[in-house]
């Protein structure tokens, strides 16, 4: 077990009216870990993610971030400390790529020259073209480029933790694969702790170290992909069936390299 926890949920519950979105969930994310939360729509996975930076408040239970109870931290300060990548980017349409990326450092009062340098560095880091993209408005970018800007923005204030809400869901398969791989590399290189939501078990297996499965607000199972495949839960097995069948069909349909 790694010694320190980046995020820890203890018996956390959150309801919206009569709907219990997150139901008594306990979950730990180790520092440097990459956790994927997998579940269908309405499973409570987005609520669980947003509880971590207090975009949503818990009704019961305790959440700690890097050892401190989130209730003891000012929510605005907490959010500036944690990177957040929104579904389909969440970029501000009236701000340029550079201004979008630099927004959190600006809120933190970082000097403009420092922000500019940081923005350049991040544009390189997420493999965008500084001359072509820096001063564009988001509407002039492709979906994949926008999501790269979204990732750069989340990393701008040098957070140690990044939360991602279905970051690659709306992208075409090629872009999605490339972006996923690139992010995994960033995660490793920067020593981030990453929590990513996805409804796609294949993506979760390919990118994350550990996977948590949510259904109806409950945490059904958690562990490495290998641990998960040993789970006796029918729903978890259902979720794992898809990547398995895909692998079989792909193996049958595509000639194995070097096998001919």
């Amino acid at each position: 077990m790694p010694s320190k926890l980046a995020i820890s949920y203890r018996n956390v519950t959150r309801s919206f009216g009569t709907l219990t979105a997150v139901d008594d969930v306990s979950l730990d994310i180790a520092e440097g870990g990459f956790l994927a939360i997998v579940g269908g729509s309405g499973s409570g996975k987005t609520t669980l993610l947003r509880l971590a930076n207090r975009l949503i408040e818990a009704d019961r239970g305790t959440i700690t971030v890097e050892g401190a109870d989130v209730q003891s931290i000012d929510p605005v300060a907490l959010r500036r400390r944690i990177g957040y990548v929104f579904q389909s980017g969440g970029l501000f349409p009236h701000l340029s790529v550079a201004d979008n990326i630099g927004i959190t450092p600006k809120l933190l009062g970082t000097p403009a020259t420092e922000i500019a340098a940081r923005v350049d560095e991040l544009i390189e880091l997420v493999q965008l073209d500084r001359t072509a993209h820096r001063d564009r408005l988001p509407e002039a970018l492709s979906g994949g480029q926008r999501q790269r800007v979204g990732v750069a923005r989340a990393l701008a204030a040098k957070p140690r933790i990044v939360l991602m809400d279905e970051p690659f869901g709306a992208l075409d398969p090629l872009t999605r694969d490339a972006l996923g791989e690139d992010f995994r590399e960033l995660h490793r290189k920067l020593g981030l702790t990453t929590v990513m939501i996805t409804h796609d078990m294949t993506e979760a297996i390919l990118l994350a170290d550990r996977i948590a499965v949510m259904r109806g607000g409950k945490l059904l199972a958690q562990g490495t992909p290998a641990e998960l495949s040993a789970s006796s839960d029918a729903y978890v097995q259902d979720l794992l069936r898809t990547p398995r069948r895909q692998v079989e069909r792909l193996n049958a349909l595509l000639p194995q390299s070097g096998a001919a």
Binding site: N53, L55, V76, A77, R79, R80, Y84, F86, Q87, S88, G90, L91, F92, P93, H94, I103, T104, L107, L108, R153, A157
Partner: protein, 519 residues
């Protein structure tokens, strides 16, 4: 003479700095006040559906009140307010002119600003507001950095709508004493001076377009982050304001203000009075187009210094009397009553402008009608038209009672159109004015009133309380008292109703003075 050689264009142009300047000042002040109140309200209620609905409903109700009525309402409202502040704090302010006009127009500007502000702020993708929170913005930062910039185009569209409405509606502030481009329109309509009407309409339309374009420049500049562009728009608005402030700089407020109600005779008489004062070396200006309920209060409050009213009007409206007395008695009693308000009834001009039942002479002769008593037998098959206030005035009730008049139908009409309507047979009888020149022009006859149901309406000269002891003023006016007979006034009014270069109030006033033996 071609259309544009008409000297009335020149006369219209000479009023432009004054009218336009006042119009811009009251419109922009109203718009600014409307914005200062509405934008924060839109922001405060953006996430509160209940107060938002109430606010929008209230603003919509205000919008359904006709502009003219809204403006007129603010006058008595402010009179009440100033009497309260005077009683409680010993401070009074003028309920006349700028203040009521500005407040009413500001209220009028609120709906589009509120509605578009709220629509703009509520139309923002909730995911973006969530993103603003997520990157670490406070609620205030989210508002300033994300919500307001995104709502800007919709908000600016509302502001532009409000600007156009306010500038258009400001033309209706003339009757409550605010000089505006409406002065052209009111004066033009009353004296059938279509050059003035056209001039006023075009000027206010051009002003509305110009302000709309400048606001559009600010909007597109802000939206594209193009500061010079937005700055140019702002500079344009500022220049407009600055330009309109210039004409007022040199103008002193010590001069005499001559009031006039909204009909031709009043325009002519106010021009005549002004000319007399100026001839006596006094500084004087006419403030015309005032509503008949506004003008007396304005005199009482000292917002105007003098004007001509009619004894019967004051008898009914100010003294609230419904009994009718012989001319001399009524005048004496009126004079005493006005003196209690420190208003000086300087004297009569010599003619009477009373209500009279008027019909075509030929028809009256054919039917053997000479008096209202003769008319009574025919009214069951006849229709009658009167001005906007006649049928609610005590004279009408008195006439009906004294002669048992029962008309088949009654209609309200713009006074200038009544005479043509009765001449053409569109209505059978009108409640006209004895001094109106159109009676002779259309060959009409004013029926006698043997039972004296209609009180005397002598034209009388009134002076404001602050002018009670002003002997120079009284001396300057003395040459007019008792000098204007009904035939002369009718002819003057007929001239003023023409649509040519000699029909402007100023020209007719000069003619009238010549006719009175002056030079």
């Amino acid at each position: 003479m071609s259309f544009f050689d008409d000297p009335r264009w020149g006369e219209a142009l000479s009023h432009l700095p004054d009218y336009l300047g006042n119009h811009v000042r009251v419109s922009l002040a109203a718009l600014a006040l409307g914005l200062v109140v509405s934008l924060p309200l839109a922001i405060l209620t953006r996430n509160r559906p209940a107060p938002r609905a109430i606010l929008l409903a209230l603003a919509s109700i205000v919008q359904t009140v006709p502009g003219l009525a809204l403006l007129a309402l603010f006058y008595p409202l402010l009179l009440l307010a100033t009497s309260v502040t005077l009683a409680w704090f010993g401070v009074s302010f003028s309920a006349f002119g700028f203040l009521p006009a500005m407040l009413a127009l500001a209220l009028y500007s609120m709906l589009p600003v509120l509605r578009n502000g709220i629509t703009g702020l509520n139309g923002i993708d909730p995911a973006l507001i969530e993103a603003a929170k997520g990157v670490g913005m406070t609620a205030r930062q989210s508002l300033v950095m994300v919500e307001l910039p995104l709502a800007l185009p919709v908000m600016m569209a509302g502001i532009r709508t409000a600007a156009v409405w306010v500038i258009g509606t400001a033309t209706l502030s003339t009757p409550i004493g605010q000089t505006s481009l409406g002065n052209y329109i009111f004066a033009g309509l009353q004296t059938q001076n279509w050059v003035f009407v056209l001039f006023g309409c075009f000027a206010s339309a051009l002003l509305a377009l110009a302000v709309d374009q400048l606001l559009g420049l600010i909007e597109s500049g802000l939206r594209r982050g193009n500061r010079p562009r937005a700055g140019l728009g702002a500079l344009g608005i500022a220049a407009l304001v600055a330009a309109t402030l210039v004409p007022t700089m040199g103008r002193s407020s010590s001069g005499y203000v001559v009031g006039a109600k909204t009909f031709a005779e009043q325009y002519v008489l106010s021009a005549l009075l002004r000319d007399r004062l100026q001839a006596a070396g006094l500084e004087a200006a006419a403030r015309s187009g005032l509503g008949s309920s506004v003008i007396f209060e304005a005199l009482k409050a000292g917002d105007i210094d003098l004007y001509v009213d009619y004894s019967g009007t004051l008898w009914a409206n100010q003294l609230h009397r419904t009994d009718i007395k012989p001319r001399a008695e009524l005048l004496a009693e009126l004079k005493a009553a006005l003196a209690r308000d420190n208003i000086t009834l300087l004297g009569e001009l010599g003619f009477e402008n009373a209500y009279a039942l008027v019909m075509p002479k030929k028809r009256a002769d054919a039917l053997g009608i000479h008096t209202i008593a003769d008319l009574a037998a025919h009214t069951a098959t006849m229709s009658i038209a009167g001005d906007y206030e006649f049928f609610s005035r005590p004279e009408w009730a008195a006439l009906q009672k004294a002669y048992g008049l029962q008309f088949r139908a009654q209609r309200q009409m713009q006074p200038d159109f009544m005479y043509a309507a009765v001449a053409s047979g569109e209505v059978d009888v009108i409640a006209g004015y004895t001094s109106d020149g159109l009676i002779a022009k259309y060959d009409l006859v004013a029926l006698d009133d043997p039972r004296q149901a209609i009180p005397p309406y002598d034209a009388i000269l009134l002076l404001a309380p602050k002018r009670t002891g002003d002997e120079r003023l009284k001396a300057a006016l003395s040459s007019l008292l008792g000098k204007i007979d009904i035939a002369t006034m009718r002819e003057a009014n007929l001239r003023a109703s023409g649509n040519d270069a000699n029909s402007s109030p100023d020209a007719v006033a000069k003619w009238l003075w010549g006719k009175l033996g002056g030079r």
